[in-house]
């Protein structure tokens, strides 16, 4: 039956993959099939967003992890032979993708940021970042299905088409795994949304103490922006929530203005600000890599520069 298959573990990414998968399925001239296990979602909605078929998996029993689906999905794929299989880039789904690809003895393009179906060669050409973001590698799979994981928000969701319909097919099978989910701890939803912020003030390891975040907060406040950080500030020091770290494995942002204070500018971080309109850096090390990717830079001690800058902006706003 072939076709383009998609799989994701949250509603937003399902819509993103439906949009990307729909246009790919049209390019190849095949159907679009969505693997789904959550029965509470309205499947009608997914048909209106482009799915031709929903392949409904059996419900999980209590304490079963998502990885329990791996054998079932791999068997179904071996039988149905999809041409392309796109999987959402959440942490759980990345594990699923790698293990399904292993069972199917096929390649997997991880964290694919763009793809293109080459009509002459009838193959999917997929792009991904390597060397921490220094390079972009384009790959094609010599085996099928051609598989990729897609980071969240790589594609925009499409628009629903009223009255569009599709079929639902249930697959059955035993779900067995020796792994047990003992507990799920939901994290408190932070109100900050650095992805939507027009101005982002980002702190790096140049900041010496947690209390000094106040300097960044004050600067962000006068500019109507949000405070973000580099990975170690969130993951090692836990000074800011993990949703606020920018970079390869964190948030990719496109603000009007990014101000990095005490940010050294490692490539893994700066790939996350590539599309910022204006980049400003404040760092006392004039050789810091951040200056190579900045439009404007102040070479100086952030503890002197930031309060002065905040004050000067306040005065300017008042006048």
């Amino acid at each position: 039956m072939a076709g383009v298959w998609i799989l994701a573990d949250n509603h937003d990414q399902i819509l993103e993959l439906l949009a990307a998968g729909r246009s790919l399925a049209d390019d190849i001239g095949m159907g679009l099939h969505l693997l789904l296990w959550d029965r509470e979602e309205k499947s009608g909605e997914y048909f209106s967003y482009g799915a031709d078929e929903i392949i409904l998996l059996p419900a999980l029993a209590d304490g079963q992890p998502l990885s329990v689906y791996i054998p079932l999905i791999a068997e179904e794929a071996a039988r149905e032979k999809p041409e392309v299989f796109l999987i959402g880039g959440s942490n759980r789904c990345k594990e699923l993708a790698a293990r399904i690809a292993t069972r199917l003895e096929t390649g997997l393009c991880s964290e694919c940021t763009a793809f293109h179906f080459n009509q002459d060669l009838k193959r999917l050409e997929m792009e991904r970042m390597i060397y921490g973001g220094v390079g972009v590698q384009t790959v094609a799979s010599t085996s099928k299905p051609q598989m990729a994981t897609i980071p969240p928000r790589t594609f925009s969701p499409g628009s629903p088409l009223e009255g569009r319909e599709g079929k639902t097919r249930e697959i059955t099978g035993a779900l067995e795994t020796p792994v047990r989910v003992l507990e799920k701890k939901a994290k408190s939803k932070e109100q900050v949304n650095i992805r939507e912020a027009k101005v982002v003030v980002c702190v790096g390891r140049g900041l010496e103490n947690e209390e000094d975040l106040q300097l960044a907060r004050e600067l962000a406040e006068v500019l109507g922006g949000e405070v973000a950080c580099t990975r170690p500030i969130a993951e090692e020091l836990h000074w800011l929530p993990e949703e606020t770290y920018i970079g390869l494995s964190g948030q990719v942002i496109k603000p009007h203005l990014y101000i990095g204070i005490g940010v050294s500018g490692q490539i893994q971080h700066t790939v996350g600000i590539r599309d910022a309109k204006t980049v400003i850096a404040i760092n006392r090390d004039e050789n810091a890599a951040i200056f190579e990717v900045a439009d404007y830079g102040i070479i100086g001690d952030l503890y002197e520069v930031v309060p002065q800058l905040t004050r000067a902006i306040k005065e300017k706003v008042k006048s």
Binding site: G107, V134, V136, T138, V179, K185, L257, T278, E292, I298
Partner: protein, 255 residues
Amino acid sequence: MPRIITCFKWVVDQADIRVVPGTDELSLDRVGYRISEYDRNCLEEGARLKEQYGGEVVGLTVGIPGAKKSIKDALSRGPEKAYFVTDPSFSNLEPGQTAAIMAAAISSQIEYDLIICGEGSGDLYAQQVGPRLAEMLGIPCAVFVNKIEIKEKEAIVECKVEDGVEVLALPLPALITVLPDINTPRVPGLKDTLAAGKKPVEEITLQDLNKSFDPYLETLNVRATSMERTCEKMDAGSEGIAKMVAVLTKAGVIS
């Protein structure tokens, strides 16, 4: 008492990669190599678990003969012994090949209860080798873990997921990939470095494995990502600050 395998990769130091002027080609002519940063957390976690639970910890790497340079460094970070699976053809391996080579090496001669990998590698960062290896060995797996406890014949782990934390129980033997925030890798001292030189290294060759490891992916091209901006540098005095305020006004963020 768990027998632990900690896996590490010898990778290009991306700070040394240059863009060939006037092109979008990358030059790797003068690059240095090092143990992938994520794998330092993996080696540290192996050492930490051994301190807590006893048992033994070994290191495992796959690479071209030149990757041998990584072994002493790795051994100074905890493992008692290293397995070096090597062949001149082991350059630019894709994750599927690396995992298959590791699976073949482990099955042929390494006993284990727990395998630890980094969350991804410093060069490709595909995050596939861990879960692929687990699948090939037919053992349970947990990824993106920032806490490991061993209880009886199980590993209790905390996995970072988008909406929080999932606590899993994995019967051993199992494979775990760890996040950088699971620990702070120790800096090896002179004593560790000296001791590392005396630890045994077992070489496993392609002939020993007696198998071929074919790629699934074809690389069509690699090009540089351009993000250079012309930085106008200002001083930290009042003149610089005034200029910066003008820049911000022009950018439309101050009204």
